[in-house]
Amino acid sequence: MHDFIERITAYVHWALFLILEVLSGFLLFQYNHYQGSVWFTQANIVAAMVHEWEAEALSYLRMPAENAALARRNIILQQNIDILRHELAQAKGDTTTIKREWTNSSMTLIPARIIDNSVRRRDNMLVINVGSDDGVAPEMGVVSGTGVVGIVSDVTSHHALVMSILNSHSSISCRLRGTEYFGYLKWKGGRPLRAYMDDVPRHAHIQKGDVVETSGFSNVFPAGIFLGKVAEIKNSSDGLAYELEILLSTDLANIRHVNVIDNHNKAELDSLLSQ
């Protein structure tokens, strides 16, 4: 009997090894970022707190570069407004229509700071310091001064987990500015500034440097938010369409401040679409 017990205990570590590996496998495959528990992620209370201290300490270092990017973006937007104002004046013969302050009441922006971020993995996620208490809910869009950042996938009361556009599951409805050609922006891993837009028909006139922006079809992002520029025009794998390589406008490795888009019409639109 003693012998028997000794023999069993000699193999206990084998059993433990198998149990722990199976548990790891369970965490790896069963758990995913799009539903289920947020507690095993970077957004759980302790991990978020540590990342928040760190973000606080680092944010001062990056402020000058961020400010410069925002200022540059502001100038570009002002120029755009200026051009549009001129065009509108020419088209309508007066400018009174534009003088009323334009407010889009169906949308609010919730400012947030990124407290954890990665760009080197295949499925990158980020954590921001606003959560359900601030009005953030899953499937809201997240943008920065330079363009689209990602989509909220899970929230706790004070933090939210965001699926970055640098995630193999990310797919953002986009179009070529000034045309009706639309497609989906996807990231295929590798370099953090390169993404792809598929299914662009071969008769489309495309040039390197054409702007890619959100299409507004998805209810997550309003139309016209900057995504990037066409860097390379390639044939799709089946040879029937173009696959565009896009140079992303937002360097996700280098951002701190973002805004969450709360689209008040989204619930209405979603229920309409599901009917």
Binding site: V12, H13, L16, F17, L20, E21, L23, S24, G25, F26, L27, L28, F29, Y31, F40, T41, Q42, N44, A47, V50, H51, E54, D116, S118, V119, R120, R121, R122, M125, K188, G189, G190, R191, P192, A253
Partner: protein, 168 residues
């Protein structure tokens, strides 16, 4: 009994903090970051029960996973090397070594200990990057990421070990 465990726990926390706060942000040429956590398993002394080794491996991996958002990947890789570490240590330790040998340059000899680190780290990295790149079609990217991270981790760990316990 309890003091060595507390010491090891403090050592593990220090390595985890360095990993989470510094190394996870470093991407040499945009590829894999150096991984320091395997050092906790590598330095488990001879005579550690296999069960204890496994719990260290899984525990450290689990915490690293939570902070890095890599659920299951570190814990699987570290559990695996914790499983083979005791046997490998017995195989590679000098014949005349003490019973409570602590893996280090001074106690195992420079070349022996380097081989020990390099081998365990390689196995760890193969598992880590294979799991991370599951269904990844850019094989080349995983290979480069693994290579870069392996080289960076190996250099870093050897440096840390030299500082911690220089050869006599």
């Amino acid at each position: 009994m309890i003091v060595p465990i507390l010491k090891r726990l403090a050592w593990a926390l220090l390595l985890l903090l360095v990993q989470v706060l510094i190394l996870d942000k470093v991407h040499p040429w945009g590829y894999g970051a150096p991984l320091l956590c395997p050092l906790i398993v590598i330095t488990l002394p001879m005579g550690t029960s296999r069960t204890e080794a496994l719990l260290w491996g899984f525990g450290v991996g689990f915490v690293a996973d939570i902070f890095a958002g890599t659920s299951g990947i570190s814990s699987a890789a570290l559990t695996f090397i914790a499983f083979i570490q005791p046997a490998l240590l017995e195989l590679m330790a000098p014949r005349d070594s003490e019973e409570q040998l602590h893996p280090s340059f001074s106690e195992m000899g420079r070349w022996n200990y380097f081989q020990f680190i390099a081998l365990l780290l390689l196995i760890h990295h193969i598992i880590y990057f294979a799991l991370e790149g599951f269904s990844y079609f850019f094989l080349e990217d995983i290979a480069i990421s693994m290579g870069v991270s392996y080289a960076a981790s190996l250099i870093l760990i050897v440096l840390v070990e030299h500082v911690r316990n220089p050869k006599k």
